[in-house]
């Protein structure tokens, strides 16, 4: 394998990756790139999912999580077109990265600082479609914000999923602070934080990784590199091929993973988690993926990318890919797939029905919770 520096020097125009599969690589603190052990490359006869310690039930659950996220995402766009919700920010195309990480973390024990594209992560962690829809439609029962924030600004205390804001990358130093709290308290919680490629340009990215590494904090930094910061392609955001290469500068491992390969994401997520849990410090993971939709419902992506490019990525769809894998492994039939799709659609129908009927926040609540109220923490 080429060293990452050579890679960067030879080719800095290869982002977003078009057709070439992304080779997983692990970059050690000294900048030495090592070949990652891809399960297919081993001589073992056991299938990859078994090697990863996953059960058939796990695979079914992960498949459902991919589908529920996509189904809900598409429904939200539909509601937007119908004028029922003012704003959409979508995760379509990035589901495998998020579902892979959700599977590797201990929900309710570990801490998650997500970002506004974390719909699939949120669902896979256990926020229900109804809760998401209440948030999307800004209802009083919206558990993330009571209708105060734009949609996709997730947060759910019971899942240790910390409230999201709109400025990018602010969550990264906060995640480092959460990791520091674990160190002071001496607990074994791992903190995960998610950010787009765009967010890595901010100083917070540097400050957070640097801080986390100095103190060997149990933090996993996940960059979902979907190729664009709204309209600006990564080639105009940075002069390197892999964001993960920056890990070298912080003395932590940097891992590039094909973000559309669910099992590979899970493997990488689990390794980063185990490293953090063992007290060995943070990891930077870069998942190469793609968003199918414009940045948000206020954006028009035709201004900066071609339909051909989007179509090309749709052919590498993470959900179809996992479906094919399950079929090849004889773990699912077309019929069973259809039944999972139906189940997802029913859950979304029910979520929409409930949320549409739910009451809006009442104007007299606007002054609540500026500060702690009497007797509250």
């Amino acid at each position: 394998m080429r060293s990452t520096n050579e890679t960067a020097a030879k080719d800095r125009s290869n982002i977003p990756p078009k057709s070439e599969a992304v080779a997983p690589q692990v970059i050690g603190p000294q900048g030495v790139a090592n070949e990652a052990t891809a399960p297919e490359a081993t001589a073992s006869a056991a299938p990859r999912w078994q090697e990863l310690g996953l059960s058939k039930n796990d695979l079914r659950e992960m498949y459902y999580n991919l589908l529920i996220a996509r189904t809900l995402d598409e429904r939200i766009w539909l509601l937007n077109r119908q004028g029922k919700t003012a704003f959409v920010i979508s995760c379509a195309g990035q589901e495998a990265t998020q579902v892979g990480f959700a599977k590797a973390l201990q929900v309710g024990h570990d801490i998650v600082f997500p970002y506004y594209r974390s719909l699939a992560l949120t669902l896979a962690m256990g926020m229900t479609p109804t809760e998401v829809m209440l948030h999307q439609l800004s209802k009083a029962e919206d558990p993330s914000s009571g209708g105060r924030q734009m949609p996709s600004h997730f947060g759910l205390a019971r899942l240790n999923m910390v409230s999201v804001s709109s400025p990018v990358a602010t969550q990264l130093t906060q995640a480092a602070g959460s990791g520091y709290a674990s160190k002071v308290k001496g607990d074994d919680k791992v903190t995960y934080t998610f950010v787009g490629d765009g967010g890595t340009s901010k100083g917070d990215f540097h400050e957070a990784l640097n801080f986390a590494s100095i103190h060997s904090l149990p933090v996993v930094f996940v960059v979902e590199n979907n190729g664009y910061a709204i309209s600006v392609p990564v080639t105009k955001q940075m002069h390197i091929k892999n964001i993960a290469d920056r890990a070298v500068a912080y003395g932590m491992p940097g891992v590039v993973v094909d973000g559309n390969d669910l099992l590979e994401v899970y493997r990488v997520a689990r390794e980063a988690t185990e490293r953090a849990r063992r007290g060995e410090g943070p990891t930077l993971v870069e998942a190469k993926t793609y968003r199918y939709r414009p940045h948000s419902s206020s954006d028009d992506d035709r201004a900066y990318r071609t339909k051909e490019e989007v179509d090309e990525w749709r052919h590498k769809d993470p959900i179809s890919r996992f479906e094919r894998y399950l079929e090849e492994q004889g773990l699912i039939t077309k019929e069973a797939e259809q039944s999972v799709r139906t189940r997802a659609k029913q859950a979304v129908d029910e979520a929409q029905r409930y949320a549409e009927a739910a009451p809006n926040p009442t104007p007299d609540t606007i002054m609540r919770y500026v500060y702690a109220e009497e007797g509250q923490q």
Partner: protein, 329 residues
């Protein structure tokens, strides 16, 4: 009771709160081994160790962000910014994040961080070691902003700030840290001064002066001069700018009929404008004269050269002159 400086009062509050609650920890540049460039955290690391008295990299956004992330996890961080002038990279974290955590999550999350910063001039700190940043923070709901003047209040208010369940910007006027005449007897051991309460430090009848920090002391001195000249001046130490003790302000104006605000931050957009507006809206009928503001000039920063710095700073002579004019209106 022992006599303490402002700096000693701050340090004593930190020691006592860290002993009281193991979740309290201090972070910032040079706060550990060096004990802070102003020595506010001196001795803390020796007693509480490196984990709880943390020297950070020179990265203000991270100091704030790390504090916020730790607070979300139940810690009680006290983040020191070496000079208020250098807090600006952290403003996004303080305003967009800390101030909104509770509101934006509909009360699901809170962010009990104390952001400490020495502010103010008159120490030949030039334009990047002299700024007064209180108005910028006081304008944001969700934050509390504390600007004590006396050692007793520094200790009691800092302890209250650390125990508060919301983020507090705690501003310490650096000229008062070791100012000999600002020493005060303060009780050893635990006491609290509640946030949001102003204090009438000198009663008077002819006019009311509202101030905080070093300007409170300068105003007091000017008031004594006026007193000797036969004009009775009431001096109110605001202590907390947010939540603001409107009641004490309005009661004082209703008594004297004349109001003056003194701060060293520049006039335009300064906190004095807010007080003037409150008085105009809620005590207009009691006013015998227009509200008067004494403040720093509208220049981008406090110049370094002594004659220029002196020109910038309101002082007892300038304040006394303004008082005479207001009293004579």
């Amino acid at each position: 009771m022992p006599v303490k400086t402002v700096l000693e009062a701050v340090r004593e509050a930190l020691f006592e709160e860290m002993r009281r609650d193991e979740n309290v920890f201090v972070l910032g540049e040079d706060v550990g081994q060096r004990g802070g460039v102003f020595r506010a955290t001196e001795g803390l690391q020796k007693e509480f160790g490196e984990l709880r008295v943390l020297d950070t990299p020179l990265a203000e956004s991270a100091i704030a962000g790390v504090a916020i992330g730790a607070a979300v996890r139940g810690m009680r961080p006290v983040a020191e910014f070496q000079f208020a002038d250098f807090i600006h990279p952290a403003v996004e974290q303080i305003i967009d994040e800390a101030a909104r955590f509770r509101y934006r999550s509909n009360n699901a999350f809170s962010c009990p961080v104390v952001f400490r910063a020495p502010y103010g001039g008159g120490v030949q700190g030039g334009m990047y070691h002299s700024q007064s940043v209180e108005a910028m923070f006081a304008m944001w709901p969700g934050l509390k902003v504390v600007t004590p003047s006396f050692p007793y209040d520094y200790k009691g208010l800092l302890k209250a700030a650390i125990r508060d369940n919301d983020p507090v910007v705690f501003l310490e006027h650096k000229k008062t840290y070791n100012f000999p005449s600002i020493k005060q007897e303060i009780p050893a051991g635990d006491y609290i001064v509640p946030l949001g309460k102003a204090n009438v430090v000198k009663e008077g009848t002819k006019l009311s002066v509202f101030a905080y920090g070093m300007m409170l002391h300068q105003s007091l001195q000017a008031a004594r001069t006026l007193e000797a000249e036969g004009t009775s001046v009431e001096v109110v130490d605001l202590r907390t700018l947010r939540p603001l003790d409107k009641e004490t302000i309005l009661n004082s104006v209703r008594k004297t009929g004349r109001a003056m605000i003194v701060h060293e931050a520049n006039l335009f957009g300064g906190f004095g404008g807010e007080i003037a507006a409150i008085i105009a809206e809620e005590a207009f009928e009691w006013l015998d004269a227009p509200v008067r503001r004494v403040a720093g000039p509208d220049v981008p920063g406090m110049p370094f050269a002594l004659p220029l710095e002196e020109e910038f700073m309101p002082n007892p002579a300038k304040i006394a002159q303004a008082m005479r004019q207001l009293a004579a209106y």
